[in-house]
């Protein structure tokens, strides 16, 4: 669970569920905490404040010192400055991820919220339990209020890859096409007919096997590799779309568009050229945008997205409900589709409040003339409930996992046979 102080983005559902975080009673002994910050005055203040709060607090003011301490002591909490002499703070996260004590991590940075958000995603993808990211200077009360929260859960995708990839390996994997597009079906809930696929990047690392996208996508974003990666997925997706449209002429393909890609003013023309090359109408493509993407660069994003829409390309707001300012983003940008985040769908059978939010979201989308996609549908109950309140499109394991293009044709053939 991730939380910003000053600009809270704690998921309301999960925030409501937890009580306070009282490690004292959980562990019974003094909790060990390490503060890693190369600004000595700040480091001392945080260390002393945490000592006063009952922690057995150590400090380190350099990367080497921190690495040494982490390798010799088992910490319960590590407070880490990301800007530790450039990018090095982030490199320490890998070492922390390998710690058997499974410490909770609190990040600090003087850089803006977007960098903090990307760092959190990277840390979570490494399998770390991240309590939050604080803007520097970090005051004792901000830290204490973070520690008053319940301990963050282990990320759902703790199936961490055996080897954590480097940026160089990622670049090579893009070049050598070890990263490919996989396709997850989107079906209409009313008639269960196919409406399209979402293209998702999948990396099969030759010796180590699959690398989770929540690990390599943030890595690509941090290293500028998201641009060639998106281009490759876009090419694959459009080429595949041409092939399946022979039998399914109205099927579209959705591609995730990341912040740095969206910052390219020539993107609409580049995409238009690609569509023309594949002889596809613009409506065959849906650009999926996450809310944070849009907010990171609002003016340029608004321009690029509006131009994409003018050209006839569909715009989908991904992960709706998990970001912030989503309603403002909906107001400002010409979206055609809204995807309700899977965390709401997962909770819809057990959490009445989640269900109310889903219903309100569907009603909102209807008012705005947007189609609604529910992501992460896994059960018949969820499917039925969503259909009953007018959700038009579903996506999730209940209908089909992300699959290679070849498997996709088998899946299509099987469906045709089943409905024949």
């Amino acid at each position: 669970m991730v939380r910003f102080i000053g600009s809270s983005c704690l998921s309301p559902i999960l925030a409501r569920r937890f009580g306070g975080w009282h490690l004292d009673t959980q562990l019974g002994s003094a909790r060990r905490l390490l503060v890693v910050d190369d600004e000595p005055v700040q480091c001392l203040i945080v260390t002393r404040a945490m000592s006063a709060a009952g922690f057995d607090a150590d400090s380190a003011t350099s990367l080497e010192e921190a690495a040494g301490r982490i390798s010799t002591a088992a910490y319960d909490v590590i407070v880490l400055d990301l800007s530790l002499g450039g990018r090095e703070g982030i490199s320490l996260l890998r070492q922390i991820a390998a710690c058997p004590s499974d410490p909770v991590v609190i990040l600090m940075s003087r850089l803006d919220e977007r960098v903090r958000a990307a760092s959190i995603r990277y840390a979570v993808a490494l399998g770390l339990r991240v309590a939050g990211a604080l803007a520097k200077p970090v005051g004792p009360s901000a830290l204490r209020s973070l520690l008053d929260q319940p301990p963050p859960q282990r990320p759902r995708s703790r199936r961490v890859a055996a080897v954590i990839p480097t940026a160089a390996e990622l670049a090579e994997a893009i070049d050598t096409r070890h990263i490919v597009a996989a396709f997850q079906p989107k079906v209409s809930l009313a008639g269960r007919h196919l409406v399209g696929f979402e293209a998702l990047a999948r990396w099969h690392h030759p010796p180590h096997g699959p690398v989770p996208p929540d690990l390599f996508v943030p890595l690509a974003e941090q290293n500028g590799l998201i641009i060639p990666l998106t281009r490759m997925i876009l090419e694959d997706a459009l080429a595949a779309c041409v092939r399946w449209r022979d039998a399914h002429p109205d099927c579209s393909v959705a591609v995730n568009i990341s912040p740095m890609v969206l910052a390219n003013p020539a993107l609409p023309e580049e995409i238009e050229t690609l569509l023309m090359r594949h002889a596809l109408p613009p409506a065959a493509l849906i650009a999926e945008i996450t809310e944070t993407t849009v907010i990171a660069n609002p003016l340029l994003a608004a321009e690029v997205l509006t131009r994409l829409r003018i050209k006839g390309i569909g715009l989908s707001m991904d992960d709706f409900g998990t970001g912030y300012s989503s309603l403002l983003t909906l107001l400002r940008l010409p979206f055609t589709e809204l995807k309700i985040d899977r965390s709401f769908i997962a909770a819809c059978e057990t959490d009445d409040e989640a269900w109310k939010i889903i219903r309100a979201t569907i009603s909102l989308a209807r008012e705005l003339g947007l189609s609604v996609v529910a992501e992460g549908i896994e059960t018949e109950v969820a499917e039925d409930r969503l259909r009953s309140v007018g959700c038009q499109i579903g996506q999730g394991w209940r209908f089909g996992r992300a699959m290679s293009e070849r498997t996709l044709y088998d899946w299509l053939a099987h469906r045709t046979k089943a409905t024949a």
Partner: protein, 146 residues
């Protein structure tokens, strides 16, 4: 009224409120000992003394780095003024902190002028002197008490 600090009052909450108000005027003291008193509420008197002593011990290096950064400008200067703003604010040198923060904000659009940098260095120097006096007084008080 120039700012709001939410209750319960903490050192950094108050410092932020003071920072946000425009009235860190020339009449305000170089060293605001109220900030130190609030910090003592958070981390104890001894902790506060340790923080002040660390700031003083680092001061020659801080000044040296700042002077060098004033020559090379750019990212090095931005980093120094940012670090100084937060460290100075933590120990109650609010005018120094404000001057550093002003330069940091101004650097979003333009390089700071030489007068601004000279003022910051002067404020740092007088701040360090006052903080050293405060530390000496605290030390004497402690010795007298024992």
């Amino acid at each position: 009224m120039n700012g709001i600090a939410s209750k319960p009052i903490t050192a950094e909450g108050l410092a932020t409120a003071i920072d946000a108000s425009v009235s860190v005027a020339d009449t305000s003291p170089v060293l605001d000992t109220g900030v130190l008193a609030l910090l003592a509420g958070d981390i104890g008197k001894d902790g506060t003394l340790d923080v002040v002593r660390l700031f003083l011990a680092e001061a020659p290096r801080t000044t040296d780095r700042l002077q060098r950064a004033c020559i090379v400008r750019g990212a090095a200067l931005l980093r120094e003024v940012h670090t100084l703003a937060s460290a100075a604010r933590s120990v109650g040198l609010l005018k120094t902190a404000q001057a550093a923060a002003d330069i940091e904000h101004a650097m979003a659009n333009a390089e700071p002028d030489a007068d601004q940098l000279a003022e910051l260095l002067a404020l740092l120097e007088s701040g360090v002197a006052q903080l050293a006096e405060w530390e000496a007084a605290q030390h004497e008080a402690t010795v007298a008490a024992t």
